[in-house]
Subunit: 136 residues, 4 copies
């Protein structure tokens, strides 16, 4: 998906304001992929016979999906860029991804969806950290 | 992104209920890509000097992004599947994508972001129609 | 919340296009209230000891919350109004609310959150139907 | 809307974990009201003849609506509560509301929708700060 995101960044009619286009595109794509994966993982947890042991996992999956989607939207907007808002939502996204990865990793050996989801969360957590590093 | 979506569908612990996995994965991926593209196109329109002539385009871009994201989420959930809700949101998504593609195509020669966005909307419109055809 | 929504509609700088302002405001408010209630009901279901019997309820709650929020956003926008998109998302919202109310009503005697949620869904279903009737 | 939110909190089947119910309900309600107001303000800005001077306002309105909705959803979930994620999204919401209020206040004398929206953002900023104070 990073290719699609970068293609749209290339069409932006004004200057991107010194931001690293590839790091930005990678972060937006990672956020959308993590949001989809967390939405699917919450649903797969719901379908497990042992759902009662996965309720904390479902909850943080739902949070992480919401925070990732909002972060992807905020980052996709370049007009009237506000560095404080960008940094704060990236910090929230990194925090939610870390919490979700920690939780999913506990179930990774038993549930393949949690293993795949933990990886998506770690990639997104790292992408947010990478983008934050370029903003400071 | 379709690859990521399909990988998560493969981890779903129950039967997918006879749905065509590849058609479903393609539709979910097309919805997320269209949502990202519409969000970026609305912002690129805002950055144009002639923004006053693009306000209808911005509005339908915002609608289309919201409807596509919700459709992608509903389709990502397989537990307790309700065919009526799935069909209704797919119809709404197809309608929003068609309206957004029609509007963006009017500006496609002048604005590259509208040209790319119209293509993403047409792909998503077609993906929704393909999935709807398998549900009837 | 309807009061807040109507106050903002009063500030809209152009004509509202013949739409009934009170019916519109009631529908936007009902959508937001239903979205909040469904999000809370899904979480309350997760917290029940018998969560394994509530997984279908959680799923339709999550769908209904997403569809209601998107509907509220689309309806909150008046610029470049597209009647086809408005009608299609209202139909999807009515369908999701009906499905969620049907499911929650099955658990209403046992779970107070499902009883309250079913009422919010019925109110929203009716508000969507009322608004649709004025659009035709 | 705070009344609706509190009614649902009362139905939660487990302990709320020592959180102040009224402060929490007020914050969730303020987030939803701010999200609706910002969505409507962005659209009203689009409808102004001088839209070209309001593009920064539209952008921060869109960000603020997204962040407020996600914050309201995260706060509406009590199961598997993660204090780090809650604090981080509340900080992001406070930041986005402050930025949006600052921008809208610049146009408050000329545009009634910006005046009303700035007030909603300040209320939400304060509600987030109040809730954060109880979490520390």
């Amino acid at each position: 998906m990073s290719h699609h995101v970068e293609a749209m960044l290339d069409t932006y009619p004004k200057d991107l304001g010194g931001i690293d286009k590839q790091v930005l595109a990678a972060c937006i794509a990672a956020c959308f992929e993590c949001a989809q994966t967390c939405t699917a993982c919450a649903d797969a947890c719901l379908a497990e016979d042992m759902v009662a042991e996965l309720t904390n996992c479902i909850r943080i999956n739902l949070d992480c999906a919401d925070v990732c989607e909002t972060t992807a939207r905020v980052l996709s907007r370049r007009t009237g860029y506000d560095a404080n808002t960008a940094r704060a939502i990236l910090e929230a996204c990194r925090t939610a991804c870390e919490a979700c990865a920690d939780e999913c990793e506990r179930h990774a050996e038993m549930h393949e969806h949690c293993r795949v989801c933990a990886e998506a969360c770690r990639r997104c957590e790292l992408s947010c950290a990478n983008l934050l590093a370029t903003l400071n």
